[in-house]
Symmetry: C2
Subunit: 464 residues, 2 copies
């Protein structure tokens, strides 16, 4: 693939950045290429330079320099986004925050912590373990907390613990006005003015660079139980989830795999699971309470045509039960050696989920592409993983066509085109289909805060 | 008090409003006065007209007319705000939404509902009861859902169920651009662009008029238990709460009263409670689980110097145990016949709560004013209720002086000046003290969305 064209960086900017960052300024193709591609199906778009910052002050310096030279800034964390968020579509400077990985403070009594944007969630949880606390948001990838905030990430624990929207108490942000602000104090709740924290969460780097994140934490549960159950019908599985929530069982995770996905993990990991719609549960609480939860849900599953309800609160047995779920993505890719994944992300009201998945499966069964389904079913969010041969353009076109039908279906059900991956480059058309004139308000906010369109330009929407 | 001066409404606007609203346009002093005063200590500021709207379309028509005539619009719900949010400081049209009280939809399977902005929370819960669902946010007053969203209200259940920030899935809003938008779809979560829902929540009518609110609901718990316990020390009470949360007990409510407040309720209601710091708990779950929660917390209370731990899951006994808490505000006012309340609202990290309340109590003990304390202690939020003689200006000045010391103390502890009441007219100075340059971002957003400053002008901050 040839390098994309963009105006070269002004010499004065390069000189200033070299003065500020020395060897942490990279102009060579190696780093630019590493930062100019995504984990998903998008073509690479290289930045003109990559800078590794080490502090909020350095970020402020870089931002001011780039503003002065009207040069785009693309914040970069772990590069695990799935919608091309970090691609430098208008060139500019990629600001890599991964070396800002200091845990600034962790407060056991308040169950909160403040971390630099480059801290990754596994690093954070390792740090918190001895304090008896954990950070629940788990998008799968070992993403940075700054990136997770910027994309409003969620994942398997959201049904109980919420998304980054609920998990973040405050942010430190360098704004397009060249200010270093904090969006809130460390209080658990506040009614002090507009919710700048939530405005920044999910803004995908287009309204500022997040440099520190203050997070709500949770006590590590006394007991954790896992359960697995396969179902004769999709409706039986989803009804079990709906009734679980209606009974007030505070399920911590509930994940769905369709028969295609179960076949894939059986094939890769030799698990011998029944090749049918399968639910994976996790329960958190006291020893007695996780047992009670498992009993209630086991009864609901049986009433809805579920097979054997296997559950355990012993760690090694829990891992065995959830092994299939943890393997899901790579098992899907292993369906075709050399293939790449192309992941959809709709989320619908749970009352529409059976219909949405069923109609989608009919589409998929008529398609040439292997396409397993995994879902955060408690939230109504599920992913089709199209498994593509990257050299066959017609396969990407087929994924595109099927995704279009899926998103239109979800929107007709009052759902969203993206439950957790964000808009980035890939879903801009759908953002407008979903929210109509409300997108004009978003543009007005963007214009007000970043009138020169220098912060991750071209993401979420085109400004003009 | 004399009527405030404001430019009279343009005749063409009055004619248009009369055409659209007929008898629901009020220009007389009666309605203007009812809408121009607040439940708190602020002087009245009358609108030039009051209009009762009956639909989002009528709101849109009114907004467009007012924009055309550059006339301020002040949205009005139940008028229960405590920071002067509905006072017409620049005149204009008060838009009363209380007759827009239709429950548009309630979906049992999805545990959500959409209501017009004027629906009150008690009306909503009465409607939901037969569906086995409830809406948990309880700010005390029987406020409208639109007003609660506009002020980011919370209250006694927030420790378990969150605030309006977490409770709202989507809003329908008439914007200052004269558009009728929806901020989100009905999906449980979404990463589709900027979080306009949260931007509107807490914007206090300054960014648009909320006409419909889509809410997350919760299943009515199988069992509810209440408990009361008094403590030898404030630290013992707060430590019990901290440890309760650290143990993972999902307490639904935990409220604190200081000795002064308990004395007040004893006096008014003859309850005979020990006149010491007292905690009121509520637990939600299965029969077995609420018992387990009460046992765990009873043990923690005993270890922290708590007295008898009375608990029950029988409705009439629960009501008896919580009677003191429900009486708190009126019991405080009854300390002085003819008095008015003036309520503070700081919220601090819970690790600082003992120090914050202790220092505050020392201030209060040295003051002439009766000033009981009640707190949503699980969130670190507490209220001092100054009980003032409205005819003695020096008493308001004394409340002002004590509140200033309290807010400065809370800010020094990384807390907020307002946990749940909002900025309104009363806390604008503190908003800047709390968030510094971040307030400039808020102003930039306001200017971008409402450049003529017509939507509830003068609230949150002065625009220029």
């Amino acid at each position: 693939m040839s390098l994309p064209v963009s105006a070269p960086l002004p010499e004065a900017l390069v000189a200033e950045l070299r003065g500020r960052f020395g060897e942490r300024l990279h102009l060579g193709e190696g780093q630019r290429r590493q930062h100019g591609r995504s984990e998903a199906h998008f073509a690479e778009r290289l930045p003109d330079a990559v800078v590794f910052a080490h502090s909020p002050d350095e970020v402020l310096g870089l931002v001011r320099a780039c503003i002065a030279h009207e040069t785009p800034i693309i914040p970069f964390g772990a590069g695990t986004s799935l919608e091309g968020h970090t691609l430098a579509v208008r060139g500019g400077v990629c600001l890599d925050l991964s070396q800002m990985n200091r845990i600034v403070a962790a407060n056991a009594e308040d169950a909160d912590c403040t971390v630099e944007a480059g801290v990754r969630r596994e690093q954070l949880n390792a740090h918190l373990r001895d304090m008896g606390l954990f950070f629940p948001i788990d998008p799968g990838a070992d993403a940075t907390l700054g990136g997770m905030a910027a994309t409003r990430a969620s994942g398997t624990n959201a049904v109980r613990y919420g998304t980054m929207r609920e998990a973040v108490l405050a942010l430190r942000v360098v704004t397009p006005g060249g200010r270093d602000i904090r969006t809130a104090r460390r209080a658990r709740k506040s009614a002090a003015g507009y919710d700048l924290t939530r405005l920044m969460i999910g803004s995908e780097g287009t309204l500022g660079v997040i440099t520190e994140v203050t997070l709500r934490l949770h006590p590590i549960p006394e007991a954790i139980a896992a359960a697995v159950c396969s179902f004769a019908t999709l409706a039986g599985a989803v009804d079990t989830v709906v009734q679980t929530i209606q009974c007030g069982v505070p399920v911590a995770r509930v994940e769905l795999m369709d028969d295609v996905q179960v076949r894939a993990v059986n094939r890769r990991a030799g698990l011998g699971l029944p090749e049918a719609t399968t639910l994976f549960f996790e329960f958190h609480g006291s020893e007695r309470y996780v047992q009670e939860q498992a009993e209630v849900v086991g009864g609901l599953a049986a009433a809805n045509g579920g097979g054997a309800f296997s559950w355990s609160n012993r760690p090694e047995e829990r891992s065995r039960l959830w092994k299939a779920r943890h393997e899901a993505y790579y098992a899907a890719l292993a369906l075709r050696p050399g293939a790449v994944g192309w992941t959809t992300d709709v989320c619908v009201p749970i009352s529409r989920l059976v219909q949405c998945i069923s109609e989608t499966k009919r589409d998929l069964e008529a398609s040439i592409l292997p396409a397993p389904i995994v879902g955060h079913v408690g939230d109504g969010n599920f992913h089709v993983i199209f498994v593509l041969d990257p050299d066959r353009l017609e396969e990407a076109a087929e994924a595109e066509r099927l995704n279009r039908r899926l998103v239109e279906r979800a929107l007709a059900m009052d759902g969203t085109c993206t439950g957790e991956h964000g808009i980035g480059l890939g879903k801009q058309e759908w953002l407008t289909a979903e929210l109509g004139e409300a997108v004009e308000l978003m543009r007005a906010v963007k214009r007000a805060l970043d009138p020169k369109d220098l912060f991750n330009p071209g993401k979420v929407f085109a400004l003009s």
